[in-house]
Structures are given as structure tokens and as C-alpha cells.
């Protein structure tokens, strides 16, 4: 417990301060909190409230106050308590000092502090006039504020100075509760019939110019009348609480950054809505008093939210909404209608025109703010989601380009063609932006060319990263490829097993085409078979099996390889393909192509064309396969011009890129 007592008054007052201090200390002895107590002879002595968790005793007769110390209630979140004589607190200065303090200490925004000032002043006046002084028209005190305001003040002044009523106390306590600033004002009067007063309140229709409870209701987030009318508690949302161990509201930051446009032909309505929104921290609130002006302003400032009245002369709200939605730069701005037209049809019409919400007039402050906040936040989420999607799309495009660059360049393929008259044409098609397929060709520089093709599990980013890994491992173990393809495949398998996730693997084929012997040596690891398309007219196409455990699954003894060697005839061409080709479904019967149908098709193509090439195969595939493909597709067609083959067999080289558009996905 830490009680700090300061005297901030006249010498005479200070003279007795020690005595009062002892009494205060005794009173608070049983409490367990840090507290500063300030004794003030007059409220004027209190230049500013400057300490949290303080009790200000404002009285020229502190002894009287000390008798009422039990009125001070201290709880967690306590900011300050002022306990003072009516005559000393009956000034607008007291309300102003308190509201300025709450603004200065960032409990309230500036606009809020203005509302707070008015609400607190009204509470103090009520507590003193109708509470402690017990003045009421009903009691015929000779008082009529409406008849003669000067006389009214004179009566109050007399009561405050001469009557014992003037020394009655008012207690103002301010605390933070559930992120609200809650202020209690309590008097020592007789109270009143709360229900009767609340009933009368409902009969009054004006809002801003009324007084009493109606005014307090309009200015605060909530209020409660307690102790038979002797105490009123009112609450306002606390916004700047970061240095008071509260998390600073991200909504406050959002409000500060957001632009809101209010369009209503009634200036009073735009002013009230603007006032409400600014009171909770919206700093960029624009108003327009005609639809035409509003539409032009919307195009100019591109607000984050538009509040739009429906009934307006010339252009009504519906027409204005339509026009705004037609402007490209404004079409995504949420529009919130507010109108006294509150029927279902009107609302539906608004929603159909693209409005996101509807607020009925007369505007209720809390509803307007809640709906505005919600749509502002939704708008920001929408914007950030769009920005994210755009970024991801850009990244995916760049990644796709990078993946294509892993594939052999046209120069490389052209070099091989010129050197060995071995031609490789390819189709490489992704079902998503990025592929799990990969292929490459390596010149082993001794008349042999290696052709490698892989298909990783899955599609998209994860699968494409595995293709990058494989590309790196192939470069790393390139020398094995030249010497012994079995060792090469073992090495690649080991590296993949140790690097890729458990459920990932790759079907793979490693084929070496020896142009000196017209011979193919290959190892298959679960890849679909290699198709041999014979040059001889009477020969049929056939499949070379690539059965085997895929790469990346096992690196124990279970992973065994089967190297196979096939003698080819001059002019025979080879086709390597990923499973998408045989798993594609037929347009008409939705049946999978399967190996049998593919073989049949290849034979048909062979019979139809003298020298079938990849174009012919793709054409047939496009005619019959159902789109979109559900897997990445890679097809490699390898043609070797032997000595006895016509030069017409040489196709023009086709770069993979050129074929990307061949199959619409």
C-alpha cells in the first residue's frame, strides 16, 4: 500500500492537513493498493488532474469530507475519484478539467472528450440541482428555468452559498472496465422516481437539444441510474489504452486510416453521422449533400465505405448506387444504405444493387458505428486477400518460368540433333501452375544421349520443388550417368529418399540411346511403359515395361533395378510419357485411355502417317481426351535417323514451350 497525500490549498487549510492525513491513512489502512490523495480547498486550486489512481478531496471543510470517505470505492481499473462539495463542483470548469485529463492521458479521443465533457457536466448539474439542492419545478421552489434563466441561476446560487444543501457532497469516480471508461456521479440528495422520469424521457423527441437523461443517452455508449436516482453511471469506449496495459485496439488504427463518404441531401443527417463516426476515431469522413456531388466525390477520393441515403431529389440512392458500381475504380467499394424507408422490399432492392448493409433512420450511434466498423474491416480483408492472391499469382508465374528453364533449352536439343541426328520433341503441360513432372536430355559425348523423365507425386508447389531437387541431383551425379546408369539411379534414389517427405516419391525412367549401335538401354522405376513406334510398315507399336519401385521410397535392399537393353531398327521412334496420357478420360464414354487404347491409337497413327510425329499424337489425344487434365502431362518423342531412312523423317524441332498451348487444360 502506498498512500501519498498532497495538500494543494491555502495555509489555513494546510495547517490542519496533518490531522486529516492521519484520518485518511487510518481509513485506507485496511486497503491494499497504491493511492495518491490530494486535498484541495477549492476546485480552482486543482490546476490539473495529473496522477492515476488518485483521490481528490475538494472541500474547504475536509473534515466533512472525511466523514464520507466510505463513499470512495476503489477497484481494479480505478483512474481517480473526486469527492467535493456541491458549491465547489458546480462549475463547467470541473467537467472540463476531467474530460481534458482523460483526453490528455489518451483514454478518449478528442471528439470523445467533447462528448464526455457535455455528458459529465449534465450529470453534475443534475446531481447538484435536482439531487443535493433538491430543486424541482414540481416542488414549486419558485423555479422555472424556462421562464427566467437569470432568476433560476440566482436561486441556485443562493442555495449553494447559504443553505446547508450547498455543502452536500458529489462523488465522481472514473474507472476502466472491460475497455470502457465508466464514470459514476453520485449525490447526497433524496433521489427521485426513476421509472417516472424514464417514461417522460420517451415522450421527448429531440435528441441533441434536450437535457437530462436524454442528452446523456445520446452522448454516451450506455448509462445506468442507480440508488433511486442518486447515482448515474455512464460509459464510453476507451480507445487509447496501450500504455494502460491494454492492447491498443487495431480497430482504432483501421478507423484512422479509413475514408468514409456520407451522401444525404439532409445536411443535418450528414453532420450527425459524421459526428458519430469522428467521435470514435474516424478521421477522414467526407460528406456530400446531393447524389451528384457524392458520385463525383467518390470517384475523386475512392472511399473505403459509402453511407448512402435512399430518398434524395434528382438522383435517388438506388440510382446513385448503380452509377457508383458502374465506375471501375469504385465498383468494389461497399455501400451501406441508410434511410427511413425500412420495408423489406426497399432493403432487398438495395442488396440487389450491390449494397452490403442497411441502417434505419433515425441513426442510432452504436449501430452506425458497429456496422461501419464491420464493413470497413471486411473491405480491408478483401483488399488484403486480393493483394495476396495477386502476389501468389505473380510468384507462381515466375516459378513456372523458372521450372520451364530447368528443361533442356532449344539450343541444347538442336545441338544434339545436329551432332547425332537424334531428335527430341516434347510436350510439357501442367494441370496447375507448377508441375511435378520433369524431363531432361544429356549428351554423353560418345554417340550416346541420355533421356530422363520423372513424375513426382502430387502437383503444384510441393511437387515442383521436388523437381528442382531432382534437377540438382542429376547435375551432381552426372559422371555416374556416363559410366554406369545403375549407379546413377541408385545415387539419385538415395538422395531423394533422404530429402523428400515420406509420402513423396517419383516414378522415373532413365534411358540411354546409343546412336552408334541404334540401341536403347534403360531403367524404369514405376514409370508408364516406353512406346516403340516402328519405322517398318508391317511392324506394330509395342510397349517396353518400366515396372519398378519409384525413387525416394526405399534405399534398402528392396530397391533393386533392372537394366534392359533393346535393339532398335533404323527409323524407329520412341515415346516416353507420364501417366496423365493413359489416365486421361475419353470425351464420350469417360473411360480412361489406358495402355491398350493408347497402343491401338499409336498403331492407327502409324498406319495413317508415313512418318508419325508428336503433332500427330497430340492431335489424336486432343480430339478424344476430356479436359481439363487432372495431372501434369509430359510426352517425349525421340526419333533417330538411321542410314536407311528417308530424310523426310526429320521433323522440324519443336521446343516444349511451343507445345504448351497444344493441350488446353
Amino acid at each position: 500500500m502506498n498512500i501519498n497525500i498532497q495538500s494543494n490549498s491555502s495555509t489555513a487549510f494546510k495547517h490542519n492537513a496533518e490531522k486529516y492525513e492521519q484520518e485518511i491513512l487510518r481509513y485506507f489502512e485496511s486497503q491494499d493498493y497504491t493511492l495518491s490523495v490530494h486535498l484541495c480547498e477549492n476546485f480552482k486550486n486543482l490546476e490539473q488532474l495529473d496522477t492515476d489512481n488518485s483521490v481528490y478531496i475538494v472541500s474547504s471543510r475536509p473534515h466533512h469530507v472525511l466523514e464520507n470517505l466510505e463513499r470512495i470505492s476503489i477497484s481494479e481499473g480505478h483512474i481517480f475519484t473526486i469527492i467535493g462539495e456541491s458549491r465547489l463542483l458546480y462549475t463547467s470548469r470541473s467537467a472540463r478539467l476531467i474530460s481534458e485529463y482523460l483526453f490528455k492521458e489518451s483514454y478518449l479521443t478528442h471528439a470523445q472528450s467533447l462528448q464526455y465533457f457535455t455528458a459529465l457536466q449534465e450529470c453534475l448539474l443534475n446531481a447538484i440541482e435536482h439531487g443535493n439542492l433538491n430543486l424541482s419545478k414540481d416542488k414549486k421552489d419558485g423555479l422555472s428555468m424556462l421562464d427566467n434563466i437569470e432568476r433560476y441561476h440566482k436561486v441556485i446560487e443562493d442555495h449553494l452559498n447559504n443553505s446547508s444543501r450547498g455543502s452536500k457532497l458529489v462523488t465522481v469516480t472514473c474507472e476502466v472496465k472491460d475497455e470502457l471508461i465508466v464514470t459514476s456521479v453520485e449525490d447526497q440528495g433524496e433521489g427521485y422516481d426513476v421509472e417516472k422520469v424514464l417514461k417522460e424521457r420517451k415522450k421527448t423527441h429531440t435528441l441533441m437539444h434536450s437535457r437530462g437523461i436524454r442528452l446523456i443517452e445520446g452522448l454516451t455508449d450506455s448509462y445506468h441510474i442507480l440508488k433511486n436516482g442518486k447515482r448515474i453511471d455512464f460509459a464510453m469506449q476507451a480507445l487509447f489504452l496501450s500504455h494502460h496495459n491494454f492492447t491498443q485496439s487495431s480497430m482504432m488504427d483501421t478507423r484512422h486510416k479509413s475514408k468514409i463518404l456520407i451522401i444525404d441531401d439532409q445536411e443535418a443527417n450528414t453532420k450527425i453521422a459524421k459526428f458519430y463516426l469522428e467521435s470514435v476515431g474516424y478521421t477522414s469522413v467526407y460528406t456530400a449533400n446531393s447524389a451528384a456531388e457524392g458520385i463525383a466525390l467518390a470517384q475523386e477520393i475512392i472511399p473505403d465505405l459509402i453511407l448512402l441515403d435512399i430518398v434524395m431529389p434528382d438522383i435517388n440512392g438506388f440510382a446513385a448506387c448503380r452509377k457508383i458500381k458502374l465506375m471501375e475504380e469504385c465498383q468494389n467499394i461497399p455501400i451501406l444504405f441508410f434511410s427511413s424507408l425500412d420495408d423489406t422490399q426497399t432493403r432487398i432492392k438495395g442488396y440487389r444493387l450491390g449494397a452490403v448493409d442497411y441502417v434505419a433512420k433515425p441513426l442510432q450511434k452504436n449501430e452506425l458505428i458497429a456496422r461501419t466498423d464491420a464493413h470497413i474491416q471486411n473491405g480491408l480483408l478483401y483488399k488484403s486477400l486480393n493483394a495476396y492472391v495477386e502476389k501468389v499469382n505473380n510468384d507462381m508465374s515466375r516459378a513456372k518460368q523458372a521450372q520451364i528453364e530447368l528443361l533442356p533449352s532449344s539450343e541444347k536439343l538442336l545441338g544434339i540433333k545436329k551432332k547425332y541426328e537424334l531428335e527430341v520433341s516434347a510436350c510439357f503441360k501442367t494441370c496447375y501452375e507448377l508441375a511435378g513432372d520433369y524431363w531432361t536430355v544429356e549428351d554423353l559425348d560418345d554417340g550416346r544421349v541420355a533421356i530422363l523423365m520423372a513424375d513426382f507425386t502430387g502437383h503444384g508447389v510441393a511437387a515442383s520443388l521436388n523437381t528442382v531437387r531432382l534437377h540438382a541431383f542429376i547435375q551432381e551425379f552426372y559422371h555416374y550417368l556416363q559410366e554406369d546408369i545403375e549407379s546413377f539411379v541408385y545415387k539419385i534414389n538415395q538422395r531423394l529418399k533422404s530429402t523428400i517427405p515420406l509420402e513423396d516419391f517419383a516414378t522415373f525412367v532413365c534411358a540411354i540411346f546409343d546412336t552408334t549401335k541404334n540401341e536403347l538401354t534403360y531403367i524404369g522405376c514405376g514409370n508408364p511403359p516406353i512406346a516403340v513406334i516402328p519405322y517398318k510398315k508391317d511392324a506394330k507399336c509395342k510397349f517396353l515395361s518400366c515396372e519398378g519401385l519409384p525413387l525416394g521410397i526405399e534405399d534398402s535392399g528392396k530397391f533393386s533395378l533392372r537394366k534392359q537393353r533393346i535393339q532398335l531398327d533404323d527409323g524407329d521412334s520412341l515415346m516416353l510419357f507420364s501417366d496423365a496420357l493413359i489416365e486421361a478420360r475419353h470425351k464420350t464414354d469417360n473411360e480412361m485411355w489406358g495402355e491398350k487404347k493408347l497402343l491401338q491409337k499409336l498403331n492407327e497413327i502409324k498406319d495413317q502417317y508415313t512418318y508419325p510425329n508428336l503433332d500427330d499424337i497430340l492431335e489424336t489425344f486432343n480430339e478424344t481426351a476430356k479436359k481439363p487434365l487432372m495431372d501434369d502431362l509430359t510426352i517425349l518423342h525421340i526419333t533417330y535417323k538411321g542410314n536407311n531412312v528417308s530424310k523426310e523423317l526429320l521433323q522440324s524441332y519443336m521446343h516444349p514451350d511451343a507445345l504448351l498451348t497444344e493441350l488446353s487444360g
Partner: protein, 103 residues
């Protein structure tokens, strides 16, 4: 939809649907975890309805193998019919890794 059957005595069965592919990934993982949590000693993966299997599904089988090996749970691929699934399992030589029961 794939489903998990508890056969009692810590025996479980995952019944696959017509297409065993990436769309079953989350359910399959969830069932594996459940079998593991329940201390399953036998897990049969029922292929009776399967007509199509993709590479993601093969990955799931590898995951199942890993999980069951770790927990001394016996894994079996059952009722594999002639067709695409059988061809694919044959192509990737999963008979070397799994106990496979055809038919």
C-alpha cells in the same frame, strides 16, 4: 468418401471409395492417426470399390506403411480387383513393400 471400420480386437479397416486420390488425403491421414491412437494391431485397406488411384494415393499408402511399421501394426492391402488400381500397384512394384491380397 472413405470410411474407417473398427472390427474389434484392435483390428481396423479403411474402406476406400471409387476414386482413391488427393481428395481423400485428409480423411486418410485422420484415420491413420485414429488407428494409431487406438493402438491398432491390424489395419486392412479395402480396395474393393477402387477403380482409379493416383500418385497422391500411393503416397498415402507409403505413409500408412511408415505409421504401421512404427507401431507394430500389420498392414494389408485387400480385395484389389483387376483394373487400373491393380495395374498401378503392379507398375510401381508395391507388392515388394506391402502384403497384397487380390480378388
Amino acid at each position: 468418401m472413405i470410411k474407417l471400420n473398427e472390427l474389434g480386437d484392435k483390428k481396423f479397416e479403411i474402406v476406400l471409395s471409387k476414386s482413391f486420390d488427393f481428395e481423400n488425403l485428409n480423411d486418410f491421414r485422420f484415420f491413420l492417426k485414429k488407428v494409431q491412437k487406438e493402438g491398432g494391431k491390424n489395419l486392412n485397406i479395402n480396395f474393393e470399390k477402387v477403380e482409379y488411384i493416383d500418385s497422391s494415393a500411393l503416397g498415402m499408402l507409403m505413409l500408412a506403411k511408415h505409421e504401421t511399421d512404427m507401431n507394430q501394426c500389420e498392414l494389408k492391402l485387400c480385395k484389389i480387383k483387376d483394373g487400373h488400381a491393380k495395374d498401378v500397384l503392379h507398375l510401381v512394384k508395391f507388392n515388394q513393400l506391402f502384403t497384397i491380397q487380390e480378388g
